[in-house]
Amino acid sequence: MRRINSVYGRVEILKRVLEKPTKQSHAFSASRSFSTEGAYGGGGESQQNSSRVKIFDRDLKRVHRDRAAWLSRNKNDTFVDAVAENLLDRLEDCKKTFPSALCLGGSLGAVQRLLRGRGGIEKLIMMDTSHDMIKSCRDAQDDNSIETSYLVGDEEFLPIKESSVDLIISSLGLHWTNDLPGSMIQCKLALKPDGLFLAAILGGETLKELRIACTLAHMEREGGISPRLSPLAQVRDAGNLLTRAGFSLPGVDVDEYVVKYKSALDLIEHLRAMGETNALLQRNKAKFSIFLSRIFSVLTTIYDSMFATEDGTIPATFQVIYMTGWKEHSSHPQAKRRGSATVSFTDIHKQFGGQS
């Protein structure tokens, strides 16, 4: 534990170095802005992490992903494949090719498998917080035409130099970051000018049936509610996130997938295999297995009675928000300056015969 705090505390030394006027000082100050909370540069706070809100337990998330790597080693997940396919399809809509690409955690295996040479990618870098996940991707690599490198890293502290990759893809990975704007800003910095950022995250409507059933089951058995579903982004927030990170030509679209399961247990197994189980810091840390068995029967009954379909299967909604953004480049169309118009509306009105 001491080690963790101290490593972040090393950045204090970095701040002292910044005070000395070296010839690299302007490069330093540029990199200061990548964290939105101003944690790294502002006002000489001694605990820079206290200003960042911690919602998710990232260490637990690593453990979940280690387990997911093992659980999903043999099976291909249709939902995850569908999302990855949709994301990669967008590469074909671009005229540009992307020689170097970075793939951030989430469903890495699906992206690697379904890439099939789209987008003209020659060098692929796979990054994830979980070592086991990266190892299983490396073992599953069957396409040697793309030079693939593997790396273990955290999306919130991107270890990639500025302006070094053409494309960043993140399929269902960024909704577990504590500081999503900060991660997106770091992604933008890592992109070369005219580079593309493609991400798919889970949206607010995801697993709404499970959320309702859990709340009811909880209230019935325990008399209180503990948060079970992570706070998820809304579609309107996605657009703001992209502009806040400074991407130009942002685009957001939403897709809803309804996946049917034979029982609630299958749903939970699927979530575990994707590494999407509860990692909120506020979760009820009581012995989960005892807890689960107590409310589980109530949970399944409520879920079946409220949401079951005619053929006995239960549905679960997954709302996926796809975000695209480009790093600014001179070739991108820019909005003109106010007052620089050359044609007035009255002229246009006259031109078109004044129909109203």
Binding site: V11, I125, K135, L151
Partner: protein
């Protein structure tokens, strides 16, 4: 069999890919990293932290970083 020899080749050489060595920087300070032959790890001199390389894969999660003491005894496991 081919897979095993690929891993060994990576370990024998520079221990990390050329592609990676060009674009990797320290996750906290964003400064270039130095490969340390003795401990087979990537060292960030600015903040004095070393990141391990496990099985040919660099681990640049801040939590995995080991703080280097002034007398550079980084090979101590902890």
């Amino acid at each position: 069999m081919v897979r095993i020899s690929r891993v060994m080749l990576k370990e024998a050489g520079n221990a990390i890919d050329k592609t990676l060595s060009e674009i990797l920087v320290c996750p906290l300070s964003k400064q270039p990293l130095r490969f340390c032959e003795k401990t087979k790890s990537l060292v960030s001199d600015t903040i004095g932290v070393s990141f391990p390389i496990k099985d040919g894969i660099p681990c640049l999660v801040p939590k995995d970083g080991k703080i280097l003491d002034e007398d550079a005894d980084a090979s101590k496991a902890s």
